[in-house]
Assembly symmetry: C2
Homo-oligomer: 211 residues x 2
DNA sequence: TTGCCAGCCTAACGATCGTTCGGTAGTCTC
DNA sequence: GAGACTACCGAACGATCGTTAGGCTGGCAA
């Protein structure tokens, strides 16, 4: 899956450009956007600051593309899982687990790009944020629809249960990026684990019975 | 509950100082730490930049105190709930709901101070971060212990279920700060809602049965 | 009345920021 | 081999950053 050549009509893969994107995404993720200077990025890719402007219009444009790549990765993963599921007859739980697995795989495969979305997004310049919002909202809507299909009873405007469930799920999935090491454990196992927790609930294993 | 006079041995409440803390916390939360200049803070409190240095040693020191106030607020809330629960005989679910309510109340009462912890923390300067880590870890441990007591079966090192549950719960609680309006709905209802979702699980209301 | 100090000020410091201008090597085309 | 283009560079621009030095002012203590 070619994640790095977003909105490039031709397959014009520039090693320098890609390197900048990858390194900058990593730095933005770990240090923050404002905290990462173009000189830091340039040093990390063994270039001079001015050279970055040959590939990107501005620092903001660089960030915008990084965020877009990240959303593309998870959106593509979601669609791929959805079309796979179309063929068979999967249970609700299996559907959910498949999508969680897809999200997690995209998360770890494009680590810095997708994770940057989680941590950096609240603080990016207003222009960059508004540019990224539609893509984010669309992905969010895909999950909302999925959860609504799986558990229609959640869709109660008064209690916001659907929203809460989605947020809990995203919280669990996205925070995994900060502690789970895919080289040590299987991502599928992690997905099964997350869905299991969400599916069965705490009540089923509480020490004092099921209330 | 006097949240604002942390580590001040005497009750020396300075209006100017408190104002700076409150406004800075709000700005750090919404715009980010590096993105918020001392001149912006000064303007917001109707002072000159230099005046801030009469109250705080540096920008980092200001942030350090803000983070500390935030952790104090939730820790104090947790302890208060715990000592209240000591008297009666609460069920597991009631205990959990009481603590979630306590966390949420502290979250909304000291909005900017506690919420700053959630969004800003990953990017704060290294010195500030290491200073804040012990307080954070201690609060995290309180919740881990609580969840372990409520559902000992979660404590399985292989599957990380305990960790996942805590992260899901924190994800749901802390993200509430970004969309829940305490003037429109009751925080207790929100707590009951969050715990209800976590307790019963998705399986109990899935459209296709309980798997 | 004098002295002190908290609280805030003006003015400026050096450092660092994103960005731009005018190049120079190498490669490819005709 | 002339011209064009890609990829990069050195050097500098103005703006903004956190921070500091030194001064003013009003109220409280002696």
């Amino acid at each position: 899956m070619a994640i790095l050549d977003t909105n490039t009509s031709e397959a014009s893969i520039s090693p320098g450009r890609d390197r900048i994107l990858r390194v900058a995404a990593e730095l933005f993720l770990t240090k923050g956007y404002a905290e990462t200077s173009l000189r830091t990025i340039a040093e990390a890719v063994e270039m001079r600051p001015a050279s970055i402007y040959h590939h990107f219009e501005s620092k903001d444009a660089l960030l915008t593309e990084i965020l877009s790549i990240g959303m593309d990765a998870v959106t593509t993963a979601f669609d791929a899982v959805a079309s796979e599921l179309d063929h068979g007859e999967a249970s609700e739980r299996e559907r959910l687990e498949a999508h969680v697995g897809g999200h997690l795989r995209a998360l770890f495969a494009n680590h810095a790009f997708t994770a940057a979305h989680v941590t950096v997004f609240p603080f990016v310049p207003a222009d960059v944020r508004t540019a990224a919002v539609p893509q984010r909202d669309a992905y969010e809507a895909q999950w909302t629809d999925l959860l609504r299909e799986i558990a229609p009873a959640l869709d109660n405007a008064r209690t916001d249960a659907l929203r809460l469930t989605r947020l809990s799920l995203f919280g669990a999935m996205n925070s995994a990026v900060q502690w789970f090491d895919p080289s040590e454990g299987s991502v599928d196992e992690l997905a099964a684990n997350i869905v299991g927790t969400l599916w069965n609930g705490l009540g089923s294993i509480a020490s004092g019975g099921t209330d």
